[in-house]
């Protein structure tokens, strides 16, 4: 039973445009959500997070939106750059218990 779902295996975006990566979760107990970025042959690196008490968190070109009623979060990258091409993982946890990851979305940013 996959509690964190990323339904788009891949996404292709033109450089300079917005990239929107989506994530759905099923466990209403999750109170902390994260996005990790992964380049080939490297481990995932933390990108941005959001607590369930917020609905938006912004860090430079990256913004995460949380819609608790829909159990949905999204990562917006504006403007997208070729160096953003990577696999993005959505993850969720509850009170520091084990972190549950999605299957990832591969983002291609075309120059």
């Amino acid at each position: 039973d996959q509690q964190v779902k990323q339904n788009s295996p891949s996404l292709s975006v033109q450089e300079g445009r917005i990239s929107i990566l989506n994530c759905d979760y099923t466990n209403s107990m999750f109170d902390y959500f994260l996005w990790y970025k992964k380049y080939p042959a490297e481990g995932p690196t933390f990108l941005i997070s959001i607590s369930s008490i917020k609905d938006k968190n912004e860090d430079g070109r990256f913004t995460v939106f949380l819609n608790k009623s829909a159990k949905h979060l999204s990562l917006h990258i504006v403007p997208s750059q070729p160096g953003d091409s990577a696999v993005y993982f959505c993850a969720a946890s509850h009170l520091g218990f084990k972190t549950i990851f999605g299957a990832g979305t591969r983002l291609f940013v075309k120059a």
Partner: protein
């Protein structure tokens, strides 16, 4: 500050053999996690150490997998005997506290033939 390191980076073994993966966390990080990713699927939690104690091993697939963290520093994950379905990338991560950001190692790609 050195990051999380894992050894080996790749391992190819035959079904029935034994393999031991090693993880060295960031110095001072009490929390150490093992994860596995199989062929484009989700990164699955295996277990969590706090210092040398197993805090949560609910993700361990079966008793062919044995994780240790003697002395609360580096950790090993042994698979014995290995099966075909054990193939995947094994990631280790560490964090200072249970709510801190987890820092991942580069992973060990295990192929069981």
């Amino acid at each position: 500050e050195a990051g999380v390191t894992q050894f080996p980076s790749h391992s190819v073994i035959e079904k029935g053999q034994t393999v031991t993966l090693r993880c060295d966390p960031i110095s001072g990080h009490d929390n150490l996690y093992w994860y596995r990713r199989v062929m484009g699927k989700e990164i699955k939690f295996l277990l969590h150490f706090v210092k040398e104690s197993k805090q949560d091993e609910s993700g361990m697939p079966n008793n062919r997998f044995l994780a240790e963290r003697t002395g609360g520093t580096y950790s090993t994950l042994k698979v014995q005997p290995a099966e075909l379905e054990d193939s995947g990338v094994y990631f280790c991560a560490s964090s200072r506290t249970i709510t801190d950001t987890q820092y991942f190692g580069p992973g060990t790609r295990l192929t069981v033939l």
